[in-house]
Symmetry: C2
Subunit: 318 residues, 2 copies
């Protein structure tokens, strides 16, 4: 039996998801960004996703309540974006210490309402319960995807170009609380291009790309100079003690909530051009290519080397 | 501003659910046992429900793990039964202390899998996260109802007979961990009779009936001698110090997870007869009638008196 103290989340999930009950209407079960179900709609599947944030883990005690609410819902919506979905309904679970401040809790809700309203998402109920030591917020989202148009993690093909939206790293200094889920960007991508694989970046590019490579049974080579490094990552890297290369921050910080996706290499130039016209404010970067050979490497001026760094969770532990 | 320490769950929910974002596909939003949505299916609406259990609140630390898993899912399924729905898919969120025992967590999952499998429900994913001080399990369920056939809390009409399934009270001594959600019973009821209002009993008959009366803008008179009191409630009442009338336990203990519903009085006899043939093992009791006059009264050999006791939550505080 593995030592429970060192068993990580991925191993636990692997154990728990063995031989789960399923049924004929399940199209995509555990392991992708959302579950997808065929409930009998003509052109759409239904998507289903849940995510939780915990005080002291995902947000600091006393953080701006509207931002906590925004983050709690936006994390789920980022997963909806990853399957190019449209969120329609949400349920909110609040687990609160007995001495909760109702004004603070209402402000958390206000942050969720604002984001939900902007995306046409109805909050249709939820649950309040007790968690004596700290606040926990769990959000569950329902929505739709056009049948067969959701790029999964498993669709990356050798030769594909790898893209990321936005800039990576340093989200812990603020962006993790007020990022925008890339919903319209993801739907535009799948409406206009053949996107082979897609996911959202939550654990850092290095870690999340590994999940995609494993699901797709391929490898990848990243281009160090193409990785879009955020200003926050550069500042934080310089301020750190010991200083940390900003590239490492961009690869491993986590909580970027940007899109990671692949498309055939011949699509790369038209896609980048069309993107620039449609989303002039949001950078899109081609950061490498998918290889038939497994493994993750990075090419920098010194040559190609294996990328030893892992995702956010693992990195924190090392 | 109310004192947060005495603000109860109902008041908080009332504040939070003010002016929630909604949309055209929402048929039933917050306030009933499940949310109901019209996603475009010909004959069905989609139902959506979430519920959470917390260590030390809903189950004791170290309780039989299969039963914890059973309870976590069964609570949600009891709400699905309350709208005469069919559950189809579930997501499971586990918030765990760092020193969790993977064997224990797998056994919790086994309890959920067993119940899900028996009802044709697929577990399509979920989330694991950290809750340092105690385990919290949140379950979200999706399913379907036949359009327009879900009895809501708001449908009770003056003159209706009031029914409860099973026997009430004393669930804390064991039943709260291994009750069976009344899914097939609820669908049979709505397939064969015109059920005006329905909900599941979680806070005790006295408290839950008050919710139904308020939603329906009516009152009710209960018959003390018709309330089905469980053997567990009789034993616990006798053993208590000071001794507590078993009837009070049946009215207020909570966690019965039986069905409470109303139907026109002329349906009462045929319904009770048909029930006895279809579900010979499960008692069904007609416990009173809905009145036009608001308020909840109880008739016993001494006459009719206002029912002063409240539901489980309030009672515990008094």
């Amino acid at each position: 039996m593995p030592n429970p103290l060192v068993m990580d989340e991925i191993e636990l999930i692997a154990r728990l998801t063995r031989s789960l009950p399923t049924n004929a209407s399940t199209v995509v079960g555990p392991g992708d960004d959302c579950a997808l179900m065929d409930l009998g709609l003509a052109d759409h599947w239904v998507l289903f996703k849940t995510d939780a944030v915990v005080e002291g883990v995902h947000f600091a005690k006393g953080a701006a309540p509207e931002k906590i609410g925004h983050k709690a819902l936006a994390r789920c919506l980022s997963d909806v974006a990853a399957v190019a979905g449209t969120p329609t309904h949400a349920l909110i679970t609040l687990a609160l210490p007995a001495d909760f401040d109702p004004v603070y809790v209402e402000a958390i809700y206000a942050g969720m309402k604002e984001l939900a309203g902007r995306h046409g998402l109805a909050i249709v109920g939820g649950e309040t319960t007790t968690n004596p030591e700290r606040m926990l917020i769990s959000v569950c989202v329902l929505g739709t995807v056009v049948k067969g148009r959701s790029p999964l993690r498993s669709g990356a093909k050798p030769g594909d170009a790898i893209f990321v939206t936005g800039e990576l790293g340093g989200a812990g200094s603020g962006k993790h609380l007020d990022f925008e889920p890339r919903l319209s960007e993801a739907r535009w991508l799948t409406d206009n291009f053949s996107i082979h694989a897609m996911m959202d970046l939550s654990d850092g590019l290095a870690g999340d790309l590994r999940h995609m490579l494993k699901a797709s049974n391929v490898g990848a080579e990243l281009l160090a100079e193409a990785i879009p490094i955020s200003r926050a990552a550069r500042l934080a890297a310089r301020a750190g003690s010991p200083a940390r290369p900003p590239l490492l921050a961009a690869l491993t910080d986590g909580e970027d909530f940007e899109l990671l996706f692949t498309a055939a290499s011949q699509e790369a130039v038209p896609l980048l051009d069309a993107w620039k016209k449609r989303f002039p404010e949001l950078p899109l970067s081609c950061v490498g290519r998918i290889t038939a050979e497994p493994g993750l490497t990075i090419r920098d001026p010194k040559g190609v080397q294996p990328l030893a760094v892992h995702g956010y969770v693992h990195f924190q532990k090392s």
